[in-house]
Symmetry: C3
Subunit: 315 residues, 3 copies
């Protein structure tokens, strides 16, 4: 399916939940063009020259912050990094005051990561700048789901009808929520597996199948998406030990044989090797984990470009 | 009054104390031109292209650091951020050695914030680069006073004869010292009010009026400038409680009625809502607090531009 | 000796040990051209426009990180700073996973500082990007040795036959290892002096002379290179007190008289004034310590330029 939309309806990207299938396809198609820019000797286009993007990261992040910053620079935007430490946030300023102050400096876009679900929406309602959600608590992480979809489409040629199994810490994962929204909208079949303590109640209402073992999840999968055990987000251990977790839900080459031929293995990173995934699989022939990272830059360039386009037309 | 000066006399901006009224007007007039740049779709001019500005922030800061960095980028300068943490300052290097080392890398300008009063002057005497004081202890914060003056002039059309009341923690505030210098030079009438423990002795010698209650200060004011209670700068609490402070010196809509019609309310931020100012006032129709932030970028562009001009003529 | 090489053989700069004398001369000659760029009003050339350089600093650093960043910006590269704090490294990610993730975002070069000797080589073997070692444990710090050599050549006109005495904490210094490799390759005569506890066994095998007192080392020296007492790298004090160290190995104007006429004094910084060097010497007429910093930018521009050239030819 090629995109029939020519622009995004919103000035913001708050989540996958608000996007139509046509908008998702538009972002993925646009990202294909930008994927090529990163292969050139001069990896830069003048698209966002003179535009200011503020990266407002109130939670630690490596790849997402770096990936956005690279995407912004490849589009020739001016970028400004703002993190909680060493800022007036430490002096007790509220997020709204911080945001209104940043807005008063007239940025064109704000990329925000924040531990509280809904913070990006709060900013989007308040500020004229385009807001991009780079992860809000356990709510959404839309650019991660888009880069995952881009990678699946690149490898398998389509999203519709693909069997995607997502395994691990479902309860604490914004990645899985965004992926469920995206994959079900694009008519992929989603299966979830996790220890019972890490599976939210009534998640089936989101249009997914829930199974109770790794083997069951792998059976017939075209895509195996392993989630990070978010130790830092759990107030207490919800399973007996990391070793026990690996024995039950860790992906090994042997177990992976239950998946369909040509199945790909994904992980949003950073990986806990030997916990949710063995190194043999992470570095093995089925792994597309580093492709995901590469595609992340292209997808973020596409999002920035499309939102700026909408924004420029408005003004 | 329009400016009759055409350049700044010094290579540095260390404080308002050293500026003439003509120089102040020159900076404010120049800022008006740059205010317009930030309204364009391409918010950038090539003025400082190829010039290197180092932002040397030895104290935590949000809006000032970000505001300078945006100003520098809008002028197309290369910017480099340097903060105390993770640096050789932690290995015990002196400020002079740090500064001489940075200077050896041939920056054109250094923006410095430091807890010790006089640090910017020490660097200015030592180094050929232009030094801009972004706040030195409780001494001066000249660009804050300039953006405040820009905002008053923009709203009230003049500085001369305007009644400005500054209320709050006078003793610990570099903002108030720079504002007193600027406003008295420009022939505004300055009134100060604070709890007795937060009012420096003999401050009247600076040409200001001291009153002892908020109501007295508000009576007849055209501009009401509320100061942040700098809890982090006080070694111990100098008033019984924050609630008591708010009851005595906190600005509410009711109290504000004592000010003149058309009076504006200012705050250098970050605000302690419910301590020195109620949210009703902060977000109300008289508040120009976010205008101050917007104007800060324009004023800093003007300062950078004028100092670079002087500097380029020298070399 | 002018360079006869026209390119570097490796895509990486891991250490001086792997360079030929011709390559060293090529870098120094190239740096002379870039030294001039930093004297221009517009201190910028478009050489690396559209190239992405990641500064991966896993250890605290001032001058090296800043010097590289300025060099990158003067060459018009896009730069991205990545440090350990606030990153997925804190979530337990391995260096290889971090590096592979960064590589997936297709940088052209990675400048790395890391506490583990050999980390740059590990990345260089794994990644197609050019890797520049900005200091790996007590192993090598090649750009420091190159800027030292540039400074000696600039002041004394040659490296061959020059008597260089290096004094201080030999055992913990990557700077001294890189300098020994460079200076012996370029046929300078190297003398080392330190307290016995700070002198590695069998270091004479590297082609240097070891003496046991400061006076002996200074006798006949053309270049006196004082090393920082790396207090942060020593697990325990290896000499009785800092005062005792200064009395025995600290450089004073009186002691310096034993050196040859026209001798120069160097220090890689940051200095411990009153420990390894007196302020009279550090700020005196023989000191070239700030020249070293200035030359550091030019040398790093040369390294970036030459590695990018090799890299561009490959692709």
């Amino acid at each position: 399916m090629r995109s029939q939309a020519t622009a995004l309806r919103s000035k913001d990207l708050l989540g996958i939940e608000q996007l139509t299938p046509e908008e998702i396809s538009l972002i993925l198609d646009t990202a294909e063009g930008f994927r090529e820019v990163s292969e050139r000797p001069i990896k830069k286009v003048p698209t966002l020259r003179g535009q200011l993007v503020i990266n407002l990261f109130m939670e630690a992040s490596t790849r997402t912050r770096v990936s956005f910053e690279i995407a912004e620079k490849r589009l020739s935007a001016d970028t400004l990094n703002f993190s909680a430490s060493g800022s007036s946030v430490e002096k007790g300023e509220t997020l709204i005051d911080t945001a209104e102050n940043l807005m008063a400096m007239q940025p064109d876009m704000i990329v925000i990561r924040h531990k509280h679900p809904g913070s990006p929406k709060m900013l989007a309602d308040l500020l004229p700048a385009s807001i991009i959600n780079a992860g809000d608590g356990a709510h959404e992480h839309p650019t991660q789901a888009l880069l995952d979809a881009f990678t699946i489409r690149e490898r398998l040629g389509r999203l519709s009808g693909v069997n995607v199994s997502i395994i691990g810490d479902i309860a604490h994962s914004r990645v899985v929520r965004s992926n469920i929204h995206l994959l079900t909208k694009m008519k992929a079949n989603v299966t979830l597996a996790s220890p019972p303590t890490l599976m939210p109640a009534e998640i089936e209402k989101m249009g997914v199948r829930v199974v109770h073992s790794l083997d069951e999840a792998l059976e017939g999968a075209d895509v195996v998406m392993m989630l990070r055990i978010q130790l830092e987000r759990q107030s207490k251990m919800t399973f007996p030990s990391l070793r026990e977790y690996f024995n039950t839900f860790g992906l090994t080459p042997e177990r992976l044989r239950r998946a369909n031929g040509g199945a790909i293995v994904m992980h949003p990173g950073p990986m806990n090797r030997g916990v949710e995934i063995s190194s043999d699989v992470a570095d093995g022939p089925c792994s597309v984990i580093l492709d995901q990272v590469t595609n992340g830059v292209a997808v973020r360039m596409a999002v920035l470009y499309l939102l700026a386009g909408g924004h420029l037309q408005e003004s």
